[in-house]
Amino acid sequence: MLPSDLKPEQFNGYPSEARKLVIGYVAALQRLPLSFLPSLLREVIEYDFKFPAERRALEKELANLNSLSSKQIKDWLQGFAHIRLSSQLENFDWVNAPSQFVEQLSSHLWTTHQLDAFRTAALAYADRLRAVAPPEPPPAPRLGVTVIGQGVAAHDEPLFRKLRAQGAYFSGVKPENGLDLLLNVVAARAKAHPLPYAHWYIDGGQAALHDPALTCVSYHALEPVRAALSAKIRAEIQRPGMGPEALRTHLARLRPTDLGLAKAGDAVLDRFQVKMLTEGSGTQIFSTTFAQWTAREALRRAQPLTLLVRFAPRQRQKPMNEMLSASREVADLDPLGSLIDADMGAYYNWLNLQRLTGAEQSSFLVWFEGHNEAIAIGPSLPRGTESNAAAGLDQLLSWAS
């Protein structure tokens, strides 16, 4: 089926809010190339489970497409129109399974050497969309905080090497009650700007006591979900004919209730947490990977005003089957390796924060938990500097803002 054949009733299988949204735009969707449309529908079908920032962006994108004349549509999407598709893709049920279509499209683009052309078309489209429907500026400057090195008594290598050029390195930080202090700062911001999903606390281990106004995701709290997922993976890979692509598709279809999350929970957050485990690579086995990927996706999707990420020691590397096993034995931890993972993760948190609107006003802090070292980055802090002055984390944050 081609987009020109679309009818409103074909969206009957969509969740209620997504269906309401999309049927108002069927005429606009009919004009879009097939190499483009399923990528858009992949977002639409998830509309009910999207964060507010994502919803607003999708609404703007649909409204913009609707407002374009046929000539403008051709102009905007000409790169996509030149992508050659197979009859297999054309016959795929891309309305009801857009994600699976996009997976197959990706494989088709690689195989037919059209990936670069698709990439160019996607960049051109995104540039134009951003020009006419720019992302919203944040209502207050954003703050990112990353806490690394839990459980590490000492280490030899210098920390924050990737970030030092961006801000000020402090070697006289007062570590007392550091985590509580940071959580209090984050909670105060949540009270000052009470917006849904705008203030996050992600913990790679067990979450510390925190204000309920924060959106909290922790690796420890998801242990039953991870165990359920591991059991499903083990069962699936033993089925005859199961391959990596089929397994990936199967995992992508899992819903929170399939993995034991209660129906009465926060549907948006539960769906987000499940996606971290079913679509992230390594998130199921390494807590450091989970914390980094969850922070990346929270920033990309929810575009929060505040993000506190605390890394915890991950399990030591073992064979994959063993790491996925249902063993209840206490995992052998690798604190030093986790510190290196988290140091890089902090850099990625900063990079991803920089990709959001208002980046030039945002501030960022990384603290080596329980120790005297931190780096602070912000509009009023000189870059590439060092200080050994005694200072609390609250002072560093105030200097960085």
Partner: protein
């Protein structure tokens, strides 16, 4: 693919990024390893330079383990991870800074492309042979070499078909023997057991899935016949090793001593643990691969069958995603198809290779097989690439 997120990529064209990458690699190497900018004009032919006819030459190819980025290798901040390459191997090598892979960036299909000189389009995760003749088939058919003269040592069960294509004019009977050390260890230990599990990690691109074997895998009984290793010795030595690539290099040494193949292809894989997202393990993998490459070079120099008549090639199958591309997640994957993930390097050292020179003109991954053909005296008739004149 993230539609709107891709807009964050820097404005430079892929070609500009590729050229810049090659230039910075060259500068790093000139500054640190003290090597000079090379010219494509060499004084004489390979035979004249070496005095060794192609029939006596040997070639060892190492694919550098799943792809590593410059910032963790050749850039100033990464050089601490590759001390052996920087101090021992690069000063002796001809180094190509701009080797572009225009194919599919999956490890099996990309390695198959390296081995055929054609951008293969086979399913990366299926147990399928390459569709075009491999370098092993050209080598054996054209030069009438025995099966024991071309070997592949590969890391993952998914590579068991790499030695022989499905091409009707070549294919069965002309390929390389393939050793999968992990498969061998599993067989020797009747399924592995807890003492060996750290050596049996498989494909990191699909960490939950290990393909079943079918086709020309190395049979256990050949452990004794071909490698002159008893099962007990093999098991005992394996206990001293820490990774699958260490196991591979152990097998390689044994193979060089016992069979001395003229064409030996080793695929490293430890670095690809990066897919699990743990940066420290990725760095450990790079450091280990660096050490193992030097170990293979030392073996080449110390084994009488190889010393003075062997050319060693080291190259990644491709790179990894850059930190700047918001569609990826930095070092973890190679999914964006950006210039950084496509632009790699290659070093050649040993017989006939001018030492300590760097070439920054563009070459392609597919140029390797025609180059090997020109060095060893066979025609890579169906390969897409071109011989690299600086090595001939």
């Amino acid at each position: 693919m993230h539609r709107a997120r891709q807009a964050d990529t820097k404005a430079s064209t892929p070609q500009e990024v590729t050229r810049h990458l090659a230039w910075t690699r060259r500068e790093f190497l000139r500054n640190v390893a003290g090597i000079a900018l090379g010219s494509s004009l060499l004084p004489s032919s390979l035979l004249a330079r070496t005095g060794i006819p192609s029939s006596k030459r040997k070639v060892v190819v190492i694919t550098f383990g799943g792809g590593a980025r410059d910032q963790e290798t050749f850039a100033p901040e990464g050089q601490e991870n590759i001390p052996h390459l920087m101090r021992e191997l690069i000063p002796q090598s001809a180094f190509f800074t701009q080797v572009v892979n225009r194919g599919i960036l999956g490890h099996y299909v990309a390695t198959a492309s390296l081995a055929t000189g054609v951008y293969e389009t086979i399913n990366n995760f299926a147990s399928l042979p390459p569709e075009h003749p491999t370098v092993f088939e050209y080598f054996r058919k054209d030069l009438k070499r025995l099966a024991s003269d071309a070997w592949v040592v590969a890391p993952s069960n998914g590579f068991n078909r790499i030695g022989e294509s499905s091409h009707r004019s070549y294919g069965p009977g002309f390929g390389a023997k393939v050793i999968l050390p992990k498969h061998l260890l599993t067989a020797a230990t009747s399924g592995g057991g807890p003492d060996y599990e750290h050596l049996l990690r498989d494909n990191y691109e699909t960490p939950f899935y290990t393909p079943e074997l079918g086709g020309g895998e190395f049979e256990l009984q050949q452990l004794g016949m071909m490698l002159k290793l008893s099962v007990d010795d093999f098991k005992a030595h394996a206990l001293t090793l820490s990774s699958p690539d260490e196991l591979s290099v152990y097998i390689v040494r044994q193979l060089m001593r016992q069979q001395a193949p003229s064409l030996l292809w080793i695929t490293m894989h430890d670095i690809d643990i990066a897919h699990a997202g743990a940066y420290s393990l990725y760095i450990d993998g790079i450091r280990r691969t660096d050490r193992l490459c030097a170990d293979v070079w030392k073996t080449i120099q110390s084994e009488p069958e190889y010393a003075g008549k062997t050319t060693l090639f080291i190259l990644p199958d491709f790179g990894r995603d850059s930190d700047d591309d918001s569609g990826g997640n930095g070092f973890q994957h190679h999914r964006t198809g950006d210039a950084l993930s496509r632009t790699t390097w290659m070093m050649a050292l040993g017989v006939g290779v001018k030492e300590g020179v760097v070439f920054d003109r563009p070459t392609e991954s597919t140029d390797l097989v025609p180059t090997l053909g020109s060095m060893l005296g066979f025609s890579a008739a169906l390969a897409q690439g071109k011989p690299i004149p600086e090595l001939l």
